[in-house]
Subunit: 338 residues, 2 copies
């Protein structure tokens, strides 16, 4: 049977209860042992891996934005909500104003589990509306931090806290992307470039590829002003905070140490991109027919940096992960034409 | 080599030129003979087929809204644009304010083909913006009919007219959905329920299933006020025009005779649903985690009619096609809560 293991203090226990962090030391948990397939599904995963016009035959794009709720988070939500259902949990709570909130609300709906999403004031009305349409209760908190606190308060009222940045099931759900890329490409790619905020996708890639023949170089791309991983690897950066990369604005990811290990041990790096680079990349993607959100485009912006600095060799197979859908952003053209 | 054949006068010719209707009599064309796989792809097709919470294990939903631009049209666009590219066409034009316009713009971008989309005045700004972001030129016409005329004028200036309601490549591209459903379900379903406007998806299903072991009953669902197929089968209906089913507002589909044949020969029927039924169905889908547009929900509304009238027998395997993404509609919750 699968076990929870604390990455910090080594505490170990059965997965017959709901835990999102170590009950002994407060550290982050991982899941070891055999894990069942998610029972709750909305058709997540098995997203296309394709070339795009203008980028050559060695550059592949993994279209995670075609997941059921428009982002890669669905892999994690399917696993976490399936586990919640298995444990007989009837009520979950999450704090997020964006893709994670939409994803968790949809999978809770698919499982018949009551969901509450705590959003910070100023959350985009379109995303908020979608969370409500999916049947979740919305609570508004003053800011992002207050939203987390309000969500965790609910725990004492018998609701399970998802906490996707912490939740070991959520991270586990991400691993499926690695074997998928391998089977689609017919081999392990030389490098993978992905946007990074709380690190769930980066860690899913790292943990997933540990089970494959080879580890690709993992390049994490962060947006300027929201760069805890970049700062941890390269020293504190000073730059104007990105306004565009709204899905990447995480300042204190609980799994920072693991994220650092993933990048360094894989032989990859952390890259920092600004809004100008993101806009240029976004326009290129749209004009190749890929309808992505600005945060997704940061991965291509990172690739352009690597390419310009000669860090990608001729003939190397590269996978760029496109994480979130642009269909949520009808105002997208006013961004790229301004 | 594949040939064009006119369904009306029998005119037959090679597919080494671009035709969207019969040059002899103006009738609709079909493609016969072996057709190559589309070369231009954005990852269309292979969409999930899943059960949804609350609908039982015999009801399957085909998630066409998870296609690359958020609708089933991508199957047709991939085929039509691949053919255009094969013929060395550098410029295409289409008239549409909605899903077809977005889809054609994206695939033209993916092929490096210049695209113009003629939209009627009053086209939703979000959809218009997306078409522009994909690099297409926008021309505005007074209404839907004028948009068609303006688009066809461009033909004389050397641009290929796509005309998805007419285009035989577009219809051909839709056929892949039939074998996909079979292999996902492990058998031919007993009945399929799909929203219908210009009939491209209905005909794709019908032509596709002709190549399989059995023909499922095909149920076409139309929205009140936009029901040429319903009227052709059941006699003229009088009802308040649907405001919600904005993707289904086609009054004169050029392939009406074929559509009638598909429904009647398969043993299916045409159903008419109103906005109240669409809203009820939309709310049910969202509350099961499926983020669809209102027009998609008409298929579920049709299923509910069939189910209530006893036309679906216990144990029959039913497939409901969900055609378009709700991510394009951030205002969706104000619809279902009003």
């Amino acid at each position: 049977m699968a076990k929870y293991v604390c990455k910090k203090c080594g505490f170990k226990t059965d997965t017959d209860k709901w835990l999102w962090k170590c009950p002994s030391c407060g550290g982050v948990l991982e899941i070891t042992g055999k894990v069942e397939q998610p029972k709750i599904t909305l058709g997540e995963g098995n997203t296309p891996l394709i070339n795009l016009f203008g980028f050559g035959g060695d550059v592949y794009f993994k279209l995670e934005y075609l997941n059921p709720t428009g982002s890669f988070k669905d892999r994690g939500s399917a696993m976490a909500i399936s586990q919640a259902q298995k444990l007989g949990i009837g009520c979950i709570v999450e704090d997020s104003s964006g893709n994670a909130g939409i994803s968790v609300a949809a999978y809770a709906a698919a499982a018949g589990i009551w969901a509450t999403v705590v959003v910070p004031k100023g959350c985009a009305p379109g995303k908020r509306h979608l969370i409500e349409a999916l049947g979740a209760e919305i609570i508004e908190a003053d800011d992002r931090e207050a939203a987390g606190n309000r969500a965790r308060e609910r725990e004492t009222q018998g609701c399970a806290y998802i906490g996707h940045m912490w939740n070991p099931w959520f991270i586990k759900g991400m691993e499926s992307i690695a074997s998928e890329i391998n089977s689609q490409l017919g081999k392990v790619p030389d490098a993978i470039i992905t946007p990074v905020s709380s690190g769930t996708l980066l860690l899913g890639l790292y943990n997933g590829f540990k089970k494959e023949k080879k580890m690709p170089r993992l390049y994490a791309v962060q947006a300027s002003g929201f760069s805890p991983l970049y700062d941890a690897v390269h020293g504190k950066s000073e730059s104007r905070p990105s306004k565009l990369a709204d899905a990447l604005q995480v300042l204190n990811p609980p799994r920072l140490e693991e994220m650092k290990e993933a990048v360094l041990k894989s032989g990859g790096d952390v890259l920092l991109v600004n809004d100008e680079e993101i806009l240029t990349a976004l326009a290129k993607l749209l004009k190749a027919g890929a309808i992505v959100e600005p945060s997704s485009a940061s991965a291509l912006a990172g690739y352009m940096q690597l390419s310009n600095s000669g860090k990608i060799k001729h003939g190397e197979k590269i996978v760029i992960i496109l994480t979130g859908s642009g269909l949520k952003y009808p105002e997208i053209v006013s961004l790229i034409s301004s």
